[in-house]
């Protein structure tokens, strides 16, 4: 009897493999093979110079040396990080603030659903269309300049697209607007998950709202805060659509808004497979290392507490 049962279970369990076939086949063909091919390509010199095809010749680590030695890449990494930080700081600030307000039973905010719906909306907008919209709105003859002149704040159009600060600021601002709703909703879920008896005890002890926020909410929210930070940083390193469309792919003024993925896109577009491959591999490692570092720092204090 038992043997029979076992056989039947094994027969069923074969289906586990069968149901995995679509995922595994697709993953191997469209992700794993491309990943290996990308790494493989990074060791070759393979590009077009005018009409002549150069390579593919094996060059070892030359592509990596050229990338890291050129200084160009580090500049683009710096641009990416600057724009990410400029967008992330207000994002996390307002998300924490709104999360604390929405979850505070004493405040009893009305129209919560309306506000949540509105702040999440920009997250779903096509980033390329949103960037195009900002480009038209902030162009020299665009409505923003019209309005600012109409209000008497400035006397002639401010050229948003030729100043380093304003271009980076616009990119960061768009990222902030597009992502703070998402972050708010994630943090709010974390805050609502905190045991309410902790808050009641604190209130009985006469703690103020600020004290409760810093002493109870924030420490208990650490795991989810770090999750938000990791995913946002990884997303930030992939920043592409907004600066690409806003600056028409060249990252001007003076390449100050050129991100790493825009640089990669340039290599892919011009079919420079060697450099593109090396850049992809570097991005792969940076993403991996960053997530490991942050996940580790996130786990350490918990272990000490134990």
């Amino acid at each position: 009897m038992e043997k029979n049962n076992n056989k039947a279970v094994i027969k069923y369990n074969r289906w586990g493999y069968i149901f995995l076939i679509p995922f595994v086949v697709t993953y191997v063909i469209f992700q794993l093979i491309p990943l290996c091919s990308t790494i493989y390509n990074s060791f070759f010199e393979n590009y077009r110079s005018g009409l002549t095809q150069i390579g593919p010749n094996f060059v070892g680590l030359e592509n990596y040396k050229a990338l890291l030695g050129g200084g160009e890449l580090l500049g683009y990494l710096k641009n990416t990080l600057i724009m990410w930080v400029l967008g992330f700081v207000p994002q996390i600030f307002f998300s924490l603030l709104l999360g604390a307000w929405f979850s505070d039973p004493a405040l009893r905010l009305k129209c919560q659903r309306f506000f949540k719906t509105v702040i999440y909306l920009p997250n779903l907008i096509m980033a390329s269309a949103f960037a195009m919209l900002f480009f038209t709105l902030f162009s020299d003859t665009g409505p923003v300049n019209d309005i600012l002149i109409g209000l008497g704040i400035i006397h002639q159009p401010y050229q948003f697209m030729i100043h380093v600060g304003s271009v980076r600021g616009l990119v960061a601002f768009m990222n902030f607007i597009m992502w703070f709703g998402n972050t708010t909703i994630l943090l709010l879920a974390g805050m609502l998950g905190i045991d309410s008896s902790l808050y009641e005890a604190a209130e009985v002890d006469g703690a103020s709202a600020t004290q409760i926020f810093y002493r109870i909410t924030l420490p208990l929210l650490k795991p989810i805060l770090l999750y938000v930070m990791v995913t946002s940083l990884i997303g930030g390193l992939q920043m592409f659509d907004v600066p690409q469309i806003l600056t028409n792919g060249n990252g001007d003024p003076m390449r100050s808004a050129m991100t790493m993925i825009m640089y990669l896109n340039k290599h892919l577009y011009s079919k420079n497979y060697g450099m593109g491959g090396a850049l992809s591999v570097l991005l792969f490692f940076v993403t991996g290392v960053l997530s490991i570092i942050i996940f580790k720092t996130m786990n350490q204090p918990e272990k000490e507490a134990k």
């Binding site: 595994v24 697709t26 491959g277």
Partner: protein, 287 residues
């Protein structure tokens, strides 16, 4: 007396805090919506009207602008068709096969189960851009360059959607149901299609919406894969609009075209916002 004072100050505090929070919320609401408001207004105005400066009231040229967009140099109608086709196919394939993958790992017990579960989690964070180079070379070699197929098929393997489905299954798919189906003589494939998928409907709906929207918005891969104008999706056409000599364009058309690619998503969102906002917290959607 002391306690009364204390209570009064606390009451004032709450009142003041409530006012501050409403003010901040309203400012943020305005910051989120004003761009779309200006877009909506300007999409209804003609080029001539816009050169005379901004007014906060709509005009009467919306139909004219849309007509011009439809008959302009960029094949926007084809772009809309392509975008809808790719997004719908991705939403269906991605949710169905991710549910199937999650089902395999959740229900069955086989040798490689643990390895598969860890493997999928580990590769979840790999950004698609990193493999783009190999991906482009591959589709070049197998003759899929400049077609919509390579934008659709890869969505079958989506670790993030798999993860969401697996978590949903853990709390919503009792194994007794599957055993009961087996006793009744249903084969495994039928059990999956007629017992599991209907039970997973809420999760499938949420993920279908997210997959649809992210595919609709995707710009990086389509821009590298598609070369023929009539095969391009909306984001690629928008980018083309940006690289064209901007000042020669009829601004009414530019705004109408942006509105054309943004407002369908806004309408869908407003209709389904209840499920979408709930769905964000339920699973690990990229933040």
């Amino acid at each position: 007396m002391d306690t009364m004072n204390y209570k009064a100050s606390r009451g004032m505090n709450i009142h003041a805090r409530r006012i501050i929070s409403y003010v901040v919320l309203v400012i943020l609401t305005v910051l989120c919506l004003i761009w779309f408001y200006i877009l909506m207004i300007n999409a209804t105005r003609s080029h001539g009207e816009m050169t005379r400066g901004f007014t906060p009231f709509p005009s009467t040229h919306l139909i004219e602008n849309l007509h011009n967009v439809m008959h302009g140099t960029l094949p926007i109608a084809a772009g809309m068709r392509n975008s809808i086709f790719v997004s719908v196919c991705c939403a269906i394939l991605c949710t169905y096969f991710s549910t199937m993958t999650a089902y395999a790992v959740h229900v069955y017990d086989f040798k490689l189960k643990k390895f598969m579960a860890t493997f999928i989690l580990a590769v979840m964070m790999i950004p698609g851009q990193v493999t783009a180079l190999g991906f482009l070379r591959l589709i070049d070699r197998i003759g899929m360059d400049d077609s919509l197929t390579p934008l659709i098929i890869p969505s079958i393997a989506s670790p993030i959607v798999y993860f969401y489905m697996k978590q949903y299954m853990e709390s919503n798919l009792p194994s007794s149901l599957i055993e009961a189906a087996r006793i009744d003589g249903s084969n495994e494939f039928k059990t999956f299609n007629w017992i599991c998928v209907p039970l997973m409907k809420p999760a499938i709906a949420v993920q279908a919406i997210f997959t649809f929207v992210s595919t609709w918005n995707n710009y990086f891969t389509p821009a590298l894969v598609l070369h023929t104008d009539t095969k391009k999706t909306l984001p690629v056409l928008i980018a083309q609009l940006r690289s064209a000599d901007f000042l020669k364009f009829d601004m009414g058309q530019v705004y109408a075209m942006i509105a054309f690619s943004i407002f369908p998503v806004i309408v869908v969102y407003l209709l389904l916002s209840k499920y979408i906002v709930g769905g964000v917290t339920a699973g690990g959607v990229k933040g």
